[in-house]
């Protein structure tokens, strides 16, 4: 693939925004988790805890002196040998590369792994991890699917306490409510910074293409929330002064890539095909809690649990409860003034692919055009997607719908 760092009209000046982007890109591409190693060198008492997508309660980890590290697999740059040896052809790609990285020693700087309940594959990967790495701490995190505060909320609070207890037994700090409040404040600040950038990509997508925002957010999986918030804030200031010219693209919401991530080139392919991605569920964990957490609560742990229960994003791995299926997506389309939806699910992704027909039906009822394709993290061919996305954006532009 030919590399161009600037796809959408902004001039390649060595401005501060571009520097930050380049820095984030380097972090994202570092399969040996260099940023985490550096954090550990600077925080010798801290533990680095990896976690699989989508959501984990990051502030809890930070509160007990741990760095939560998002493991998004190996992208398209890892030779998969042993990873493939453990999975049949009909299973998605991210567990293969996660295992490959683990067995290759790429994840050696991690002191533990968390496998949140997302789907059966990631759940079972947690069990495999215990067998493959018996000497390292790892845990399944059972996120509740019952959203009554006194039922699911209570259970989840107990899960959080268990995690904190187990990590404390392995050298993390003891749980301290004030430390958690501070971590939640930091996370809230990061969330605000993301919101600012989200607003920018919606109002001036040519100035901040989704692919750039994606790279910026990837850095967030490798650093504390406060550091990331500051980085994003600095970027937001810098990027506004970056010269850019508007493009005439269609506005789309991208849905389905909440766990296994598409190659960056795939996101860029969509942009080059005439789609401004004004919302997406890429790296959903960072945006999962859709409202500020109550960082001043008397019992911050309960507040953290309740935030999951009350403000969790409507995504495929979360039971919809009594809400109407697809309503959240339609709301998003409306709020972002999107022209259509692009479903991009990882091949063999149960949650995304089982969810999709219901979302499509909701879009149909509301006459919102959509298109769909599948990918895997190491997809190397974009020709078909380019054509499909191009045809989609053209037809939406011409007719406002898909003919």
């Amino acid at each position: 693939m030919t590399e161009t760092t600037n796809q959408t009209g902004a001039l390649p000046l060595p401005d501060r925004a571009s520097q930050i982007l380049a820095q984030a890109r380097t972090m994202m591409d570092d399969l040996h988790l260099g940023p985490v190693q550096r954090w550990k060198a600077a925080n010798p008492d801290g533990l680095a805890i990896g976690y699989m997508p989508v959501y984990v309660p990051r502030p809890l980890f930070e509160a007990i002196g741990c760095l939560p590290v998002t493991i998004f697999g190996g992208g398209d740059q890892v030779d998969i040998i042993r990873g493939d040896s453990y999975f049949q052809s009909y299973i998605c790609h991210i567990p293969r590369s996660a295992i490959e990285l683990g067995l290759n020693g790429h994840l050696n700087c991690l002191d533990g792994m968390v496998f949140p309940s997302l789907c059966d594959v990631i759940r079972n990967l947690g069990g495999m991890w215990k067998m493959l790495f018996p000497d390292r701490w790892s845990s399944y995190l059972d996120l509740p699917q019952n959203f009554a505060l006194h039922l699911g909320g209570k259970f989840y609070g107990q899960e959080l306490k268990r995690i904190a207890r187990e990590l404390h037994e392995r050298g993390a700090k003891a749980y301290d409510p004030e430390a958690l409040r501070q971590a939640m404040r930091n996370e809230n600040r990061r969330r605000l910074a993301i919101n600012v950038l989200d607003d920018l990509r919606r109002s001036e997508p040519w100035r901040l293409p989704a692919s750039d925002l994606y790279v910026l957010l990837r850095a967030g999986g490798l650093m504390p929330a406060l550091d990331h918030a500051e980085l994003l804030e600095e970027f937001a200031d810098a990027v506004r002064s970056r010269p850019a010219r508007p493009f005439d693209n269609v506005r789309v919401v991208l849905v389905g890539a909440f766990c296994e991530q598409p190659p960056l080139d795939l996101i860029r392919t969509l942009e080059k095909s005439g789609c401004d991605i004004v919302d997406d569920d890429l790296q959903l964990g960072l945006r999962y809690i859709e409202s500020a957490m109550d960082a001043e609560a008397a019992d911050p742990l309960e507040a953290l649990a309740n935030a999951f229960i009350q403000f969790g994003a409507a995504t495929a791995s979360r039971y919809i409860g009594t809400a109407e299926k697809g309503a959240a997506l339609l709301e998003k389309v409306k709020a972002t003034k999107a022209d259509g939806v692009v479903f991009a699910a990882a091949s063999f992704c149960d949650p995304a692919l089982l969810d999709q027909p219901m979302l499509e039906a909701a879009l149909d009822r509301a006459s919102v055009p959509f298109t769909s394709f599948k990918f895997s993290e190491n997809t190397g061919q974009f020709q078909v997607i380019r054509e499909q996305a191009g045809a989609f954006s053209d037809s939406v532009k011409l007719w406002g719908t898909v003919q």
Binding site: T2, D76, Q77, D79, I80, I81, R82, G83, D84, S85, Y86, Q88, S89, N378, T379, G380, Q381, Q383
Partner: protein, 465 residues
Amino acid sequence: MKCVVGIDLGSTTTKAVMLDESGQIVGKGITNSRSNYAVASAIARDEALTNARFSLLDRALGRSTHADAVQARALENDLLSAFRLELYLDELVYLEERVMALLQIWSPSPLRDAVTAATTDLLADMQHTAPDLFLGGVERKSDFFRDIAGQAFVQGAERVCAKSDVPFERLVGLFDRAILDVETRVQARDFGVLLPTAVARVAVARKVSAGVRAVLDQAARDAAAEPVEEVALAGTGYGRQTLPFPKEAVRSEILCHGRGAHRVFPGTRSVLDIGGQDTKAIQVDQNGVVTSFQMNDRCAAGCGRYLGYIADELNLGLHELGPLALKATRMIRVNSTCTVFAGAELRERLALGQAREDILAGLHRAILLRAMSLLARSGGIENEFTFTGGVCKNPMATKLLKELVVDNYGEHIQLNIHPDSIYMGALGAAMFALDDYNAGHPSLMPTVQTGARSQPAPLFDASCA
């Protein structure tokens, strides 16, 4: 001599190996697989028997250090070519018979007459030029009748069509139809007739002295006269489910490949076999007994067939891919080995301006990565490691495999590749046949009706000499 036979019926070729009672390999043979498995097996067996007879002949000639015997022995390759020529000529006669029979079905017309005349002309010419094909000193790319005769027929058809109104497609169509009949016939091989005839032809063609001729005649008579009794049979292979053998004679290809590889390289603990239709990773113990195995799943990604598609897409011969890939200056990363999309992937990359060699290198690597996964799934690679199957003849594949083995399992793993690795399955089967024989419950190959030798082929005439 009592012997046992092992047959490996593959998707593209059928192999046979013959062992004597002591377990020594006395013959091996190969033919192209065809619609009739029984015929393919019988022909492979006959090829192995031919190979065995020639071994006998070689042994007989090797016993003497007399100058005539030494000279005679130097003519062995010619003798084999002459022997093949006899078989070829016999097949040609049958081919003509079938073509004429097919033409009989056509309704009489000027076209039929023209085609009949052209075919007669063409076949006569093939017969005439055949000796040169076999004894002209040019190396044959294949010993399969379909390949040699097909090439000669197409060349001949181009020639006769250029000077007549006969449509080329009609002629080739006739061949394509008739060859099916020829290929489903088992040729009788009477060594008592064929060997002396071959000797006579070589004697004339190579102008041998009377003394050498006498030595050759005697050796041929002896080799043909040695009774060879087939006492047991075992079969395996891709078409195992419909093998033309009794159920008791059928052995798992996994067991056969593992055992064959272990026999040839007794230090073998891990075996990788990449064939046309599947890839197998096998672990064996110190006795060659399979302890674990894995085969690729229902998806054929990463098998030899994948390279076949790539070769077709590039309009290259399969054997040309490896050497071309070796010329790569960089390795393009290819993440998919999906056979269905092989062509599309290649075209897209070529369109991007990537070099053919570099893409090929990446494609080879992708296949080998799949194979490495399968090996890991079966338990990894233990020293020694033996690579078999059609793809082990590909130099790029073996180069990459060596690198990957070192990277993933270290320098200490010895990689074995044998020039006869294609016979490993048949060899393993033959060893099982010998077990059966020694245990007193051998199976035998059902008799396949052999087609009578049509008529003595014209030996030679003065113009040949």
